[in-house]
């Protein structure tokens, strides 16, 4: 059973397109996250939701919009994709907002051409 799953695993698209990445966790956790890992493997948090409420919003272009329909899902929608958006995007979850132990999904490799 996959604890944190993401779809798609790979996404190749052209500049200017709009795309979404989906994330689901079956751990019963309250808090979910999106991270971006660049080509140099640097990992940086983008957003965090706790029970569908946005609690962390780092300096991210407003082309990126997270959406949490319920606490088990956190999707990431990206408008007007740019070359610099190419990266691996990881979803993660934790028991609650105070819990520092996070469980990561397998990642979505986004390539913008």
């Amino acid at each position: 059973d996959t604890a944190v799953s993401q779809t798609p695993k790979y996404l190749v698209t052209q500049m200017g397109n709009d795309k979404s990445i989906k994330c689901e966790q079956n751990l019963g956790h309250d808090t979910m996250y999106w991270y971006k890992q660049d080509s140099k493997k640097f990992l940086k948090i983008m957003f965090s939701y706790n029970n569908k409420e946005l609690i962390i919003n780092e300096t991210v272009p407003n082309r990126f919009s997270p959406k949490s329909p319920d606490k088990a899902h956190l999707n990431l929608h990206i408008n007007s994709l740019e070359l610099g958006d190419s990266a691996v995007y990881f979803c993660a979850s934790s028991q609650d907002r105070a819990s520092s132990e996070q469980y990561f999904g397998p990642g979505t490799r986004l390539t913008v051409t």
């Binding site: 990992l43 948090i45 965090s48 962390i56 934790s94 907002r97 819990s99 520092s100 990561f104």
Partner: protein, 115 residues
Amino acid sequence: AQSVTQLDSQVPVFEEAPVELRCNYSSSVSVYLFWYVQYPNQGLQLLLKYLSGSTLVKGINGFEAEFNKSQTSFHLRKPSVHISDTAEYFCAVSEGYSSASKIIFGSGTRLSIRP
């Protein structure tokens, strides 16, 4: 503000040799410390964590780390590595009991094992 420094971007070692991956952090408050491992083309997996208590923390796959508050370090060690330990290792820090658990990751250390 918190930060994490992994001093070595790459560490090559021979199989069955010991290894130490270095990590230093800075924070003005008490912290939680973590080591995550990322195998090729996979997500991150928690290797071990320090929350409180004993400063020597044992994790999975024979790894251990020691929290040293005076040196603000959390170095990862394994006495004898295996080919399967080839991966990227990330040290991470978060503020204990903060209102939102934001983890700050280091830049990673690539561990490559030579037969």
